[in-house]
Amino acid sequence: MTYRKMAGAVALLTAAALGASVPAAAQAAAAAPNCSGASTVKETLPNGTTWQLCWRIHEMAGLVLTQVSVSTPRQPEQVQVLDSIRLAQLHVPYDTGDMEFDDLTDIGMGGWSLETLDGDDCKGGSARLGSDGSAEPAQRPVLCVSAEPAGLAYRAREENWGENGPEAGTLYSKQGHDLVLRTISKLSWYEYVTEYRFSDDGEISARLGATGDLAPGYESDTARGWPVGKDDAYKAAMHYHNAFWRVDFNIGGQGGERVQQYDTALDGRGDMTAKLKTTKTDITSEGTFNKVDQRWWRMVSRKSKNTDGHPRSYELVTGGNDRYQGHPETKPDVTFSEKNLCEKWASDNDADPECPADVRTVLDFVKDKQKLTDPVMWVRVGFHHVPRDEDQSPMPMHWQGFDLVPRDFSAMNPLTPDGRTGQNGNPEPAPEQEPEGLAPSGSQN
């Protein structure tokens, strides 16, 4: 398959998702954030991308980020991405069945649990002072803001055919950077790092790191414990860290995103190899969903569009994820619920006298399958920890999390260099006219 044909297939897919939508000129710019300077983070990365947000510490949730918006050199106005993002639960059940901590609602990631940044905690970054969210709030340096190299953002070498074969032409090679925000919570032996990475290409990564020390419990059964001391004398208990995040999008400041699921499956044979077919399913009412191969979800703005006229969206990308089967509410990978301020915690939600006492978990949030007009996404990522000798001591950081990847948030790569700006939908210098009828109509949702 030639590159040109492949591009056509991509166009077909995008067109199918879009139908015959007409580009809208208006782009809603994000206003200055509604929070004070001390709780604003606004940083420009070397490639010119600027992220802006408000932060605060909640006694139970820990770090809460709100009004997250981004601008790039090609999109100079700030465009909002998220209304808010935060942790929504952290289950730590032990395989022995005799211990479980639901850390957010039993003890809390903020307040006393929140560590004052010290040592190398914020090396090379800026330790920001703020309220620790405790009952008697104290101002402490608790948020680390830093910019970190993220490796090669892109590379493209142009080649010319000369007399002696290919000759190297212009090289486009760029180092990417992330704006990194992190806090540290010490919950007895475990210490958790709540981290958000905002990439200069628009990607957002949410993850939870665990370090500190293993629980000092002894387990004799090799099915539930792993020897970490000399010989077999001391076995550390296997356990889970099952984390939930609450993600509330507000793309372009317009809110009310659509939720879509995409699945790709084999679809017969082409002339050379298998054909594949990608189908979209609109998720119009509340529900819980599980990941399978080649399945992904995205939150699509109904109103905000990029300059190609494509609705802006963000895609949920999950990686390694151990599903904890011990609770019904920890089985789904993602839950989409209609926004409801009484729905705060993925489990043990019955903690507010103003709210119904029988709405305890994400499963209760979606039980009545309400129509989704302002969806909230609950992302669950689990890590089953089988201890190893190296976990002592302190334990090397282990991570769990997910990415939010921009899909049509901007018309091109936000880092596109000047020499490549002509390649928006035109992969060759002199594009042929696409044949009529390639873009299907009538598939608009």
Binding site: C35, G37, M99, T105, E115, S126, S188, P353
Partner: protein
């Protein structure tokens, strides 16, 4: 004095001995200054580093509540009735104050304060309009158990030490430190609010009653095994989990 987590960040030096207990070499390696290794791709990128400003009296929008706002909201939330009729974890008049948070979704600047009333066994939520300086809404419900306050954590540790089960802690403390335990001195408790799980026959009341599970460490970071005890702060009793 009980070393609560609140003061935990002052214990960085003390924890050194806990680390050496696990491995002297690794601690020394950490203590030794090491020069960063430059690489071809490494690029020093800096972010802004604003000078810390004194805390503002009031916040706006998504700002956390300031300490001034929390103090003001607490005074308004603690109505004369609540002060007279409710009871805290020590049995004194007035509810147990648990937490305060901003309602960033409210139209104005609103504080939500949570209290636990040990007399009615109810969680109380008081919503204060900070601009108007008025209590605007009140709610209470049984069976809701948010994280424990500092005073509840301290009380739980005292109840545990006073219980016959507490002798176990004394033994564990002596084994860990070689010293005699005197009261709560030298102990760092962490409390998890506890609601009875289906298999827990011995603590059925927990959830309706306010219970905690404690994790206790020495102030040099060694953990004492007390996880199997559930402390019922409402009934002022200690029970074994299994």
């Amino acid at each position: 004095m009980v070393h609560h987590k609140r003061w935990g960040w002052g214990l960085g030096v003390a924890t050194a001995s806990a680390v050496t207990a696990f491995g002297l070499a690794s601690w020394q390696a950490n203590a030794a200054p090491s020069a960063p290794t430059p690489t071809v791709t490494s690029e020093q990128v800096s972010v802004t580093d604003p000078r810390p400003a004194p805390e503002a009296a009031t916040g706006r929008g998504d700002d956390a509540l300031t300490s001034t706002e929390v103090a003001k909201a607490r005074a308004i939330a603690l109505t004369p009735e609540l002060a007279a009729n409710a009871q805290d974890v020590t049995g004194k008049a007035g509810p147990e104050y648990l937490s305060a948070e901003v309602d960033a979704e409210a139209a104005g600047r609103e504080a939500e304060l949570y209290f636990y009333d040990y007399k009615s066994e109810k969680l109380v939520k008081q919503v204060v309009d900070l601009t108007a300086g008025k209590l605007v809404r009140s709610f209470s419900a049984a069976g809701m158990q948010p994280p424990a306050s500092e005073q509840e954590t301290r009380t739980a540790l005292e109840l545990l030490l006073a219980d016959p089960a507490g002798s176990r802690i004394g033994e564990a403390y002596r084994a860990a430190t070689g010293k005699q335990l005197t009261g709560t001195e030298g102990l760092v408790p962490t409390a998890h609010s506890y609601t009875a799980k289906p298999a827990d026959e011995g603590n059925r009341q927990c959830g309706k009653s306010r219970c905690v599970q404690l994790i206790v460490s020495t102030d040099d970071g060694q953990f004492l095994s007390v996880g199997e005890f559930i402390i019922d702060l409402s009934g002022r009793t200690v029970a074994r989990l299994k």
